[in-house]
Symmetry: C2
């Protein structure tokens, strides 16, 4: 299986490293010559170029588009003239509904993909072969998706030691709104609120006293602004649904505190403790393998 | 300096371990005989008892009340008959306004204290001598606080390798509402909202895909319900102030997404990224020493 990777950032670079390690021929493309050089130096790719036209000579069986979300469709459209008829194409974008149907129109052997792995650092320098180990890798086939394309992607997911999770684009987008995009906004709101404290002595004290509880709750809200913006733009409707539900839940907590309804507040906190334990990532056995991963 | 510690949970036990390690005579009290045995076995205390009356024979120069918050005042009242006139008394409760003034009325040599350290495990089993190393330890003197009592507590804070931070009870309570109590409610609301998802397939998918971003943002909301309740009950007004400000900030983020005001949303996320970096706990150099601490 000859694999071309377009876009050699953290995800593209890590896929390249792992697939090369597994013995697949991997060709890379980046518009930045320095990134190409780094990819070659790190042994992530056997060949690299700055133009899509160069890809035709490599004749890939699978092409992974690892560009930012808003460049996936334009990249695919530009890629089509250079693909042979059996080439499978996938992407790694974190939102799938705006991508999968139009991409499948452009190229019938397209399969939407989203590896649930990442870290706070970006770029090929931060890439690592083990990034996807044991992590879910979502594939989002639709009615028009060709079975052989899905099969090729499942093989690739297994090759990077990830676990394939198949679902439709709409369910994927709602699920990531809950566990990835809503937390960013909830966490950003926390930082924004603290920063509004009018007494400089209290604000200074809050910063001084903040411990791991604040650090963890505020981490994703203090992350890269452009990523948060991208989530909101491309998954706007699903995110708004979650924000509305969140507002209702937090409002209820606020009313219980306001009304000193302590028995009911205790019930809410008991339920959230139980619900929290339902998430595999929160179970103790998952911690070691996740230590290297910073965000999904 | 002879030190008595009343209540041998995580905080009391850790203080006992560290002070014993530093060579101070430490006597412990717990109403549970098994806890006394464990404290003796771990070498945290040189003597231990289940009754406050036994404390008089030890004649402590400092008594640290390390009970849950709602038992601090009743414990102090019960303790007064057994104290000699020069004994300094402090507590470790996470809210200070309801404690400090009435405690100072009960005992003029009282100083409010709050070590900003903890972890997700509780009890003497989880105690460790290094728990307070490099962490802030808040002392909250008021006008009536005796200087020699404050001086004794500063010496004790230095002995457990913590950094003394002096402020008044009101500012302390508002600061911890921002960085400790508000995050618990914000995080609990997140878990509660996800759990309301009506489509079981999406809920299952959300749980499966949740990664470290969700884990971190939801951690304190999935913590011990009784602790969250205690925060809300005893710091209700300060917490309500922060919840009101938080609601306004998140509402603004929601309106920007609803109105597709992407430039403004980017500005908000750029500001939260900058604000986030203003917190010492979020600066890279602080991470190693905090790895063992789970909550403040």
């Amino acid at each position: 299986m000859r694999i071309a990777i377009v876009g050699l950032g953290l995800i593209g670079g890590s896929l390249a490293l792992k697939l090369t390690e597994k013995g697949y021929p991997v060709w890379g493309m980046s518009r930045t010559p320095a990134t190409c050089q780094q990819a070659l130096q790190r042994g992530a790719v056997q060949g690299c170029g700055t133009e899509l036209a160069q890809l035709a000579r490599f004749d890939p069986q699978v092409v992974l588009i690892c560009t930012p979300l808003d460049q996936v469709l334009t990249t695919l459209a530009a890629l089509v003239p250079y693909l042979s008829a059996e080439t499978v194409v996938s992407d790694v974008g974190s939102v799938k509904q705006p991508i999968v149907a139009p991409a499948t129109e452009l190229w019938p052997l397209f399969v939407g993909g989203h590896p649930m792995a990442g870290k706070s650092l970006q770029g090929i320098q931060a890439a690592e072969a083990g990034l996807f180990r044991g992590r879910p890798y979502v594939l989002t086939p639709i009615a028009k998706t060709q079975p052989q394309a899905l099969a090729a992607m499942k093989k690739l997911v297994a090759a990077v030691d990830a676990e394939a999770v198949c679902t439709d684009p709409a369910r994927h987008d709602q699920a990531v709104a809950w566990i990835s995009h809503l937390p960013v906004m909830v966490s950003a709101g926390l930082i924004a609120a603290v920063s509004q404290e009018a007494d400089p002595a209290i604000l200074h004290l809050a910063r001084t006293l903040a411990s791991s509880g604040f650090r963890d709750t505020s981490r994703v809200g203090g992350g890269i602004p452009q990523l948060g913006l991208e989530m909101a733009r491309h998954n706007r409707q699903a995110l708004l649904t979650t924000l509305c539900s969140y507002r209702a839940q937090l409002g209820q907590i606020e009313r219980l505190i306001e009304g000193e309804r302590w028995d009911e507040l205790l019930l809410v906190l008991q339920r959230t403790q139980q619900e929290w334990q339902q998430f595999p990532v929160n179970q103790p056995r998952r911690v070691p393998q996740d230590l290297g991963n910073e965000e999904g």
